[in-house]
Amino acid sequence: MTDTGIQAPKSALLDGPGTAKKAEAPLIAQVAKAYGVSPLRQMREIFSMRRGAQKLSGPEYYSMRLFDPSKSTEEKRAFLGQAGINALNTSMNPPIAVPTRAFVGNKLLYTQLLTQLGMSTSTTQAIFSTHMSVGHLPTARNAADLAAFLRTDARYPVFGKPHFGSLSTGAVRIEARSDDMLRLFDGTTHDVDTFAEHVAAQYPGGFMLQSALSPHSAMAHIAGPAIGCVRVVTANNGSGPKPVYAVWKMPAAGAISDNTWQDGILLSHIELDTGTLLSLVRGTGLEAETLSDHPVSGAPVVGQTLPFWEETLRLATDAHAVFPEFGVCGFDIAVTDEGPKILECNDNPSHMMYQRATGRGIQNPDLAPIWQAVVDRQTKQVARLQSASKGN
């Protein structure tokens, strides 16, 4: 019942990222030359940041430009590597206190629940699953069923993705069907039967077919026609969910999604009070660029204000309050002409995009107390639950 056949090459579906590449010797030399930081000092810093809560790897040291001598030691100490982020998030969403993580990670069921509760999200037209059933929602059981749906019932454009998974792996946007050919967002065409067989082989555990969304016209003017989600991270220290930070992820030119591992993606830090875009960055490490206008459309970015901002934040905090046991949530929200829509909730949001968009560590003096208050709440909650469990 789980997803197999994962090595099928050159598919219509989006492939996932690889792991971060190890630092190459020339990079060390380039940093030494460009920033005057000796290789020995770089090594010392990498070694130091690998330990403790930071858990930074060598490649992360470079991708986040922590070699930059203009950053103080305190500022560098505020950065976390992905392993450190995972540990921080686990202490804010400990499994024993947040048992609903598995449900929230199920994109199909989670978004359908939001729909039922009247919260705006994407519309699922059908699913493919060899074994799962979800009431009256059309379900394709095999490749032939899926092909039949794509030929007769699908309302295009359609966005497809697995029920489970992350980083947009397996995602596809189908613009239209003409006879037996599907036209994808990137302009390529695929035979309906071949496409259906490929999905069936890759994702027997579940693949959802949703009505594809288009970005708000003001955002499309800047970043193009693909959805670039706003990532809103909310935290709950026991006094109710509140937004902590927000970043707009602008897809790379020609991409169907906004994952930060895709080359060319742009990140913009958003001022929480106003929805104003504060920064624009592209790339990482030595190749990182700080911009003010979009490099493809030429439209100004920094200083612009996102539409439906109040509604976007309210939607995120309302959705967090459905499962207030979560200490931290990372919502991916598409802002459309009709308003904001939640696409998914991440129980382990990668704060890398904040660190890249702002140039500040996630444990900076503004945010560290917020995380600590959440950790304190969950530490007490875990102790309560463990005590109750022993009592039984």
């Binding site: 994962i6 996932g16 598995a102 799962m132 979800v134 009431g135």
Partner: protein, 398 residues
């Protein structure tokens, strides 16, 4: 907690007490099983796969001398019941169960998929948000809801809880809005009722529209809902009914839990929904009934309405969670068909043992459990394999 004597809500059962001497004596007299034999069997069954505690030796009926030791070993106590369920739905594979236990959103999701479930009118909760489902934040909000907005009759219960503890059926408010008329005939002060739920259930309290029971069932039991415990097991490529038991409420109760004095349970035929046997009580006090003790209606020949539709709804609802090998449904049956009240990820199988007069781990049932457990282990292994393969693919791209 408020004082027990003042409570409007259903209070919890007393914890299992040590076996009373008179139970041992009664069984010796009635069944001819000597105290020494009882103790010897208790010791044997405690360490057998059914892991029966001392009191479970009696409540399951394992003391009866007309059964062989092999048959006695087919009975399960709480510990072994959990082990059977966990084998069918391994904890590592079924983290989704936390959501299944989450009563309000679980029922709402069933509605989204067109499956019949209870209607939540409002939830008293200090901080949680349920979108279009109204939330009541304070005692004053709850009082205002009960006086002005509630559509009676209501069935109300804690957000967290089981076995009907803390539940209540409210038929109406008094004419002056000061009192509440409960399903068991009591009249209580609305203010005192709200104070009770706020004090005893700080995590939250749910107000649902009471399900209107099918007239065929009401003719037997009266208006209090008698739900069915309906167990589905994933067997082969789809869930199927494993067994079904009708829980007939005690005549003075507001719900149908078997621990409430006077409650009855009935064995149902899997194919037809025909009522095969009704029993009341436990251990040596168990009795078989041919007629309902209050209505006087004969149980003979009674068949559950909407039987095929019940199966469809339960299996479809199970199929939303294919990683769950076994689910226990509490289903009410209304005039138009079944209504899912709750799903239980760890149902206790003693109702089966009481009504079917045999242990739940008899060979036929055990084979079904084994098949479901094997399927779950296969899924788990496959998930691990896929995860590891993906990790390798990712590492290979580096």
């Amino acid at each position: 907690m408020t004082a027990l004597a003042q409570k409007a809500l259903v209070t919890p059962p007393i914890n299992a007490a040590p076996v009373a001497a008179n139970t041992i004596v009664d069984i010796t007299k009635r069944y001819g099983v000597s105290p020494l034999r009882q103790l010897r069997e208790m010791a044997t069954l405690r360490f057998a796969r059914g892991k029966l505690d001392g009191h479970e030796y009696y409540t399951t009926g394992a003391f009866r001398p007309d059964q062989s030791m092999d048959q006695k070993k087919e009975y399960v106590g709480h510990t072994s019941s959990f082990a059977v369920n966990e084998a069918c739905s391994p904890l590592k594979l079924t983290e989704i169960r936390a959501f299944i236990r989450d009563k309000v959103p679980y029922s709402e999701l069933l509605h989204q998929y067109g499956l019949p479930a209870t209607e939540t009118q409002a939830v008293l909760t200090p901080a949680r948000f349920f979108g279009r489902v109204p939330t009541l934040r304070t005692a004053e909000d709850a009082k205002a809801f009960l006086r002005n907005d509630a559509r009676y009759p209501l069935f109300a219960k804690p957000v967290e809880g089981r076995e009907s503890v803390g539940s209540v059926r409210i038929d109406a408010t008094g004419a002056d809005g000061v009192d509440l008329h409960l399903g068991n005939g009591k009249v209580v002060s609305l203010d005192a009722f709200v104070a009770e739920i706020v004090a005893d259930y700080p995590e939250g309290y749910i107000f649902q529209t009471a399900v209107h029971q099918h007239p065929d069932l009401t003719a037997i039991t009266g208006p209090v809902i008698g739900t069915m415990r309906y167990i589905t097991l994933w067997d082969g490529d789809w869930p199927r009914l494993l067994y079904a038991v009708w829980k007939l409420p005690s005549p003075r109760a507001m719900s149908d839990n078997y621990w409430q004095k006077g409650s009855m349970a009935g064995q149902l035929d899997r194919e037809t929904g025909k009522l095969l046997r009704v029993r009341r009580g436990m251990a040596h006090q168990i009795e078989e009934l041919t007629h309902h003790p209050v209505s006087g209606v004969s149980f003979d020949g009674f068949t559950f309405p909407h039987w095929k539709e019940i199966e469809r709804v339960a299996c479809d609802a199970h199929a939303m969670y294919p990683e769950m090998g076994l689910i226990g449904w509490d289903m009410a049956v209304g005039p138009d068909g079944p209504v899912i009240i709750e799903a239980n990820d760890n149902p206790f199988h003693n109702l089966y043992q009481i009504t079917h007069d045999r242990g739940v781990r008899h060979p036929e049932m055990d084979e079904a459990f084994t098949r479901a457990a094997a399927r779950s282990q296969s899924i788990l292994r496959n998930k691990i394999d896929v995860f590891q393969a993906r990790q390798k693919v990712r590492a290979g791209k580096a």
